[in-house]
């Protein structure tokens, strides 16, 4: 039987111009990996259609330990939410091979 553990899945949708910065922020916060895909979107912010300037949004998912999630949120609130079109949300998921996603694994 698969041996499941619980980790946090944090999803970030942002105008794609900040993709590189976001990835650097994830790495700096201790994430072990991430998955990106192209997206478009609309949101409530006053940023308007800014995402179209660079060809849409990027949607990033990263599975991390709760501690790392806290650090990523802090980075988002400091460096991204005030300036860029960004949404983020998180929920708990089950994974096998915990060590791939968390230092404690």
């Amino acid at each position: 039987m698969t041996d499941f553990s619980s980790v946090t899945c944090l999803t970030i949708v942002a105008e794609s111009i900040v993709q590189e910065r976001l990835v650097r922020a994830l790495a700096a916060s201790g994430a072990h990996g991430w998955t990106l895909s192209m997206a478009q979107g609309q949101g409530p912010s006053a940023h308007g259609d800014v995402s179209d300037i660079e060809g849409g949004n990027v949607r990033i998912e990263t599975l991390v330990s709760p501690e790392v999630a806290v650090r990523i949120w802090a980075a988002l609130e400091r460096d991204f939410f005030p300036h860029y079109a960004v949404s983020a949300w998180q929920y708990d998921v089950k994974v096998a091979r915990l060590a791939r996603y968390s230092d404690e694994g």
Partner: protein, 325 residues
Amino acid sequence: MDLQESLSLALTNLTSPPVLAFVLGLVAVAVKTDLRLPDAVYQATSIYLLLAIGIKGGVALRESSASDVAWPILAAIVLGIAIPVAAFFLLRVMTPLGRIDRGALAAHYGSTSLVTFTAALVFLQASLISYEGYVVTLLTILEIPGIIVGLLLAQGVRGDRFGETLREVVLGRSVLLLVGGLVIGFLTGPVGYARVEPFFGGLFIGVLTLFLLELGMLTGRQLSAVRQAGPGLIAFAILFPLLAGTAGVVGGTLAGMSIGGAMVLGVLCASASYIAAPAAVRLALPEAKPSITLVSSLGITFPFNLVIGIPVYLLLAEAIGGWLG
């Protein structure tokens, strides 16, 4: 050229496929049509355009003697620095915009517009006026410095993010593709280029047409911001091209360029960018309002240059060439 000829050439500019596609994009937004170039294709399109401009600039550079191009290149660099500075301060006089938005606009006007450049060449060809082949090198060179100066003016060198931003712009996609293309074109020369000409040359205006269709939609979604722009910005978007265009013509003439060449340098200076600049500005100056820069550069200056600017810069080049040449 008499007025009628001139008007008919202006009409030719307005009815080039890229310009008409831009208008179609505006219409698509107005009638709420769900048209959208897929993002992956749009991104590939801008990679293609930047690389193609670079390569063509490099090939043209290699075909010119160093003594011919040295002064024009110097003139382009000086203008690429001076124009955004002028724009930044003129905007302070003419508009109530803050430092950030003025820097963003300076970055756009410091850079150049591909379609306007292309339209100028068509205009010259139709008028049977010759110009130097290396003007495309000047286009490549002028794409970037204005952007950096504009960002600097907005942030100040001390801005806490400035180091990171500079690195992101200078080592970013746009510069890599332009400069990389320039080097590729220079090294491969006309013989190597001939083998990729059907791709990077033949398709260029067609791909530009698709790109402007998308840009028209982007502008269309911002058009409601024209009203907010205020009379000062509208006046700027018409007057500044004339000012910068004159500076370009003078600079080109002093650098020893022909009448046609000086006119093209004038057009480059007068036009505002929409490929490299918006992305750099968005990254470095997120507080700047894209609606302001888009409406000003694409909504007003772009059509103004196509219809009125281009013939005016040619008249200027003829007049100034007469005095200084």
